[in-house]
Point group: C2
Chain length 577, copies 2
């Protein structure tokens, strides 16, 4: 049975334990949130010894279930002060599952300022000091590890931002090619890892084994069924492999919900220059890679490899959120500049959403002009230098905006909103306002029924039905995050009953008992309520489940709309049985 490793940085000790009854059936977000809620005082400082960083593959991760390689990393967030689960692709989750890790829990604080490395093998976890990596970016950090541990190793690492304990610091997971391109980006998990004094976690999967279901035949039947549903859905079988997540730029722009120049408009006139179609053609023309998988076992392949004008590797993707944050939201329509910033974000180890949104707020503050890509790159480069301005950028939009007296700061619970203006996509606004994670599109992606026509249709401009939509999606998402499945599998789940049946069949095979869709949704509900309990202990109330006032007062073009979902409705999101 997979074990939980307790790594105490205060005395550099490691303890392996069998999961207790409360944690036994859990994985991914369900496990990270359960551990945090049970063991971390809600009112502790996120960078203090009392906080814990919990790293957990999903329940199905490593089993061979399609698209199941997601990693959950949780802690009390330095960005939001809430509980946080930050989720990424890359190879780390599968590698951890393969060597029998249910979770790694980083506890305590080191007594000196040295950086440490954890080495995770099938024999356990060891802690060792690493020298020479101070203020080193993720690319060089992982390159040094591969040199020492070989190419089969997988790394989780922090860049300069994590070492600086910056609130937007991410944790990078290496991808199939061994590049640190997949990030637990949101909520400053990298800062918590930095506070714990851990620069890199090297996972050596040598000799590891694929976790085995109790009922392999049933599991396999479920996997097949699930995979067929993914293959049938046009988004997961065609749109995402061809255009990647950036397929959304054109769609959301046309819907009038693409936040432009720090959320001052819902339409970007230069969107064509950075759209998924343009990105596709650019990559193909230059000899990059489309339909790329960020981890083994991914059948959707929404990732891509972006090369520069000379055909040299520059970065992955960039993803829609990155293109929006560094592009549209900053008034920038230069795809190469955006790709360069994506590379810098990955190297410094900062969340691309938070960082782009922060640059846009810096533009509103007058630090640099909207649309000035070279100035944006220069501003971003300050992060790597650790200058006061760089630390501000790496601290997120709310802190930089407050420091510069900016009125329009598009955050909830201190976390920047992603690439959908809540005034024109009301359902996602409900998720931003109420998710236990702060503003987060992945927590309940109402863009589906609001814009994409997936899982039914709910008019994005009318308040009716948005709460129910967001609630159902938040429940389903929490369960998907627990399973370790990629969120994009939800498109199939929403439109094709056989997808969820396949998931439940896999889980039935995994546990060796009946597993109904109601059990799956119950897992999601339990996880959300657990997270809400943590947040209540941390001092969050209904008053925190609100959007900033300007979304309710200032009209968004082109629809000339404000956020109209009433507060009382927002307070109903978590009233489920």
């Amino acid at each position: 049975m997979a074990v939980i490793y307790r790594v105490d940085m205060s005395d550099l000790s490691v303890r392996a334990e069998q999961p207790s009854e409360a944690y036994r059936d859990l994985g991914g977000r369900a496990l990270t949130s359960a551990i945090l809620q049970a063991e971390v005082p809600g009112d502790c400082h996120p960078l203090s010894a009392d906080n814990k960083l919990v790293i957990a593959p999903g329940i199905l991760t490593g089993t061979g279930a399609p698209c199941s390689g997601r990693l959950s990393v949780g802690a009390k967030s330095p960005l939001t002060g809430t509980i946080k689960e930050s989720n990424s692709g890359g190879m780390a989750a599968i590698a951890l599952a393969t060597v029998g890790v249910r979770a790694i829990v980083l506890e305590g604080l080191p007594t000196d300022n040295r950086l440490h490395r954890l080495v995770v093998t099938r024999d356990g976890v060891r802690i060792e000091p690493v020298d020479g990596l101070q203020m080193t970016g993720n690319y060089d950090t992982v390159a040094a590890q591969f040199e020492q541990f070989g190419k089969q190793a997988v790394c989780l690492s922090i860049g300069q931002a994590g070492e600086m304990k910056a609130a937007a610091a991410s944790i990078a997971s290496t991808d199939i090619e061994g590049r640190p391109t997949r990030h637990c980006g949101r909520g400053g998990m990298g800062a918590v890892m930095g506070a714990k004094g851990v620069k890199v976690i090297v996972i050596d999967p040598a000799g590891g084994e694929r976790p085995k279901p109790v009922d392999p035949a049933r599991f396999k039947a479920g996997a097949t069924r699930f995979n067929e549903a993914l293959k049938k859905h046009p988004l997961t079988s065609e749109t995402l492999p061809t255009y990647g997540t950036n397929a959304l730029t054109g769609v959301i722009n046309e819907a009038g919900g693409l936040p432009t120049r720090n959320f001052s408009s819902g339409y970007f006139e230069d969107a064509d220059g950075i759209s998924g179609e343009t990105q596709h053609d650019t990559i193909v023309e230059r000899g990059g890679v489309i339909a790329h998988a960020c981890h083994r076992g991914c059948t959707i392949r929404c990732s891509r490899i972006y090369v520069d004008e000379n055909g040299q590797y520059l970065t992955k993707g960039p993803e829609y959120e990155t293109v929006w944050a560094h592009g549209t939201d900053c008034g920038i329509s230069d795809l190469d500049a955006i790709a360069r910033m994506d590379r810098m974000d990955d190297d410094f180890g900062i969340d691309t959403i938070e960082t782009g949104a922060t640059i846009a707020v810096a533009m509103e503050a007058g630090i640099l002009p909207f649309g000035d890509a070279p100035a944006a790159i220069e501003l971003l480069s300050e992060v790597g230098k650790g200058s006061p301005l760089g630390r501000l950028v790496a601290s997120g939009a709310e802190v930089l905006g407050k420091t510069y007296g900016v009125r329009h700061i598009p955050t909830v619970k201190g976390q920047s909103m992603p690439a959908y203006d809540p005034r024109a996509v009301l359902g996602i606004g409900v998720t931003y306002a109420t998710s236990p994670m702060g503003a987060d599109h992945t927590a309940g992606y109402a863009v589906t029924a609001n814009i994409l026509g997936v899982g039914g249709k709910v008019d994005p401009l009318k308040p009716e039905g948005q709460v129910e939509l967001s609630r159902n999606l938040q429940i389903a998402t929490a369960a998907i995050d627990a399973a370790g499945l990629c969120l994009f599998t939800a498109f199939a789940v929403l439109d094709d009953p056989s997808a969820l049946e396949g998931i439940c069949e896999m889980l039935a095979g995994w546990y060796g008992r009946e597993y109904a869709s109601a059990d799956f949704l119950e897992l999601g509900k339990r996880t959300l309520l657990c997270e809400r309990r943590f947040n209540a202990a941390a001092g969050f109330t209904a008053a925190d489940d609100r959007l900033p006032d300007f979304f309710k007062k200032e009209k968004l073009s082109p629809h000339n709309v404000v956020f109209t979902v009433p507060d009382e409705d927002l307070d109903e999101v978590f009233n489920f049985g």
Copy 2:
């Protein structure tokens, strides 16, 4: 009858109105809080058009009542997000009362980036643009006004920090000598004035008249009685005029409650070098002034004029809070360096408490070493330059600490604690935690009974009795702030029944009706509950009425104590009839 001037910066219009029934009997903090609670949406952004800056002399200000020249300035705070009343001495309150102003309410936002001046005379308020003052300090700003308006004018102004809309920005009031040394320091009122585009308010008292009580004889009898009580009390008649507020350095250090090096100890080994006694001798030796009044009609005279080694004017005071914040809390024991920083704070227009606490947090962050006075002065000078680091300093300890990943940030509701460690002075900890203003010693100065033996005795290290002590002081303080009386009159009120009887007699004479001590306390209670209502609308709950977790976990030397007042007790503070 005195009028309320509504100044709308969006169209540069001024409207004079008679106070409505709800505002008629109010002044000072009672009036600023009543207007804010009734007229400002709790969830608005503090720098938005919906916020209002309310400037109000106290009920008794200008009447000739002893020590009644206090000014209340209120707004939703950019520092805390709560309602805020920031209180100062200086000549502004008396000048406003003399020209018949009950309050000035700055509303809306200007449509351009020009700076404006308000000119207040007995004929009304006019708005005019002022050029050439961009990023000018308070000293030069007011000097330019006196040149134009003559020496009898009184100024309220902002320095560079207010123009930058920095969260620690203050509003300066000129003192008797026309120097901008008296500040509404706390909570960023200067940022709100800056957002409104007002650089300076010039009050020309020419032709103004002292406000007249309905029953002058009764008023005069009350004033005499009150004055006698002030003359009798040793603190107001001897200690404060002789040693100023800095008399406290030795006392609080001996009590083990003097927060040292960012609240890491309660005892500063070099306190003697910056004590009130040393300050007294230094000032006297160099030909400065002790027993100086910050406004006319002050009989306590706790202010002083500090001169440099050549006998040249350097700054006022410095006050105890400034000496602590820039001295003890930073490990600095150089009185001249502290005085220089006080001068810089006054010139830039930033709160000395917040600024000193922020420098201490910067020291903990490793930006500069503890104890390094030249480095502290250099860091502070960044504020005037408007550099990223300077903006961080002017944004307060919480923002700077978050940006640099600091764990020990001694704030409540985002506002830095003053010069008493709540672990060793539990009563003041209750006030810090629960005051509607964020951490604020003046809101309920429990140091009286905890340490000074004024108003009874309550053991500072035992949780029993602290809630009742803080509650009663918060009620009395709110009433004193409404009356426009200096808080130091409370020493006499606490020890000598005739002081409160004198105040009530003055109020009876003022209103021309009976006024009992119960009425006075009722005024305080009403004011507090009004402020709590505003904060509830702004999203604050009991969960916000807490100290940071390290005060409950990390022991403070020399007493080796933590903050032990239970949360349930804190929640009882505002349960009064």
